[in-house]
Symmetry: C2
Subunit: 252 residues, 2 copies
Amino acid sequence: MKKKTKKVNAAILIIGNEILSGRTQDKNVSFISKWLNSNCGISVSEVRIIPDVEKEIINNIKLLSKKFNYVFTTGGIGPTHDDITAQSLAKAFKLKYGFHKEAYKILESYYGKKKFNDGRKKMAKMPISSKLIYNPSSAAPGFMTKNVFSLPGVPSILNSMIENCKRYLVKGLKVHSKTINLFTVESNISKELGNIQKKYNKFVEIGSYPFFRLGKIGVSVVTRSTYKLKLGQVNKELLNLVKSKKIKILKI
Amino acid sequence: MKKKTKKVNAAILIIGNEILSGRTQDKNVSFISKWLNSNCGISVSEVRIIPDVEKEIINNIKLLSKKFNYVFTTGGIGPTHDDITAQSLAKAFKLKYGFHKEAYKILESYYGKKKFNDGRKKMAKMPISSKLIYNPSSAAPGFMTKNVFSLPGVPSILNSMIENCKRYLVKGLKVHSKTINLFTVESNISKELGNIQKKYNKFVEIGSYPFFRLGKIGVSVVTRSTYKLKLGQVNKELLNLVKSKKIKILKI
């Protein structure tokens, strides 16, 4: 079986002490991952959450940008002292760091010359060769440096910008997914699930996740594949299994 | 200034395709991190989210268990084929993998001999030298292997078990934290915040996070330190700054 196009993967690097300390609940991983998969056929293969520490940012950017097709960083591109993503990127890739002409213009015209203070000017500083990711919410642009996309940490702003990454991304094969929710326990189907997984190992990934709903215990069986046909075959086998075990399906 | 006790850190390793794909929103990072800090004075210094792939689990366990005092893994300890945390741990540390006698007994008595099928028996398999973390919700225990704590992925079950990790943990210095919510923009205070941070660099960590509330823009300034006195000093300086700039404080 020959694939139509190639698989494209990405890593997400969440930069921020507030996520690590548990003060802020991250929402960006789930959003970026779903967006990448459904819009670009790109799978997120690894996520890291690290503190606002230059050495950590540099090391992780170097490593992840080599290991994956793309890296998405979130956080650390605002005006304050703890926003050090841009300068760390420049150091990681040994690129010139300074005012990005276009970003400077955008911010100056947004704030007006009088209110364009040093903090705001800082948001125009980045590797000067970066490409901009426009920000319809609050002007300060994100930027693409080599294969790394740097976005802000605030979810509503990030969400408004993500479409502007699309033009820079090479698309991969879309991953299709299907979920069946069963009123049973995992151990009742674990053996058979394992056998089906073995049979389709190269093509389909089967995940099994317990749930609690309306006081009842259940299992969500999630199948994912770039091969739509194989996904259909696996789900047919799953439905046969469900029938033979007389398991009820939860319809949502 | 001499510290009373030492800093203790930890990493969290989230194992699960469902988190990476964005299908499931992770809630464990924030819970574990807050619990560790407030109950044990342990700071989470890094988080990784990786797929259910043996090689990835082994490599990350080896690396993180060396780099940090403790590692907390979540996910992959259930009865199905995609639950491979226990066997990967055994391989990472070159430990004997098999039925853990005590875990076997707990599960057998919970399910009853008749209903103790192969899937359920699998949950008693782990490095046989591991110490158990008891599970008041659903019996299947977590386990501590060297400095790695393996917990389930389902948040409600994990939450019910976390207290049972305490007996194994060496406590560190508690990190105190204070938040001031200001009705201003970051760039209005970024310079002064930077100066205060510089002055207290060794003792206090100052973070600045934009928020949107009731249609207004604001900044949460979060200060964190193991030194209560220094934290008080920084917050006094912050309040002076707020006063001099005539910034309103949001009282929650």
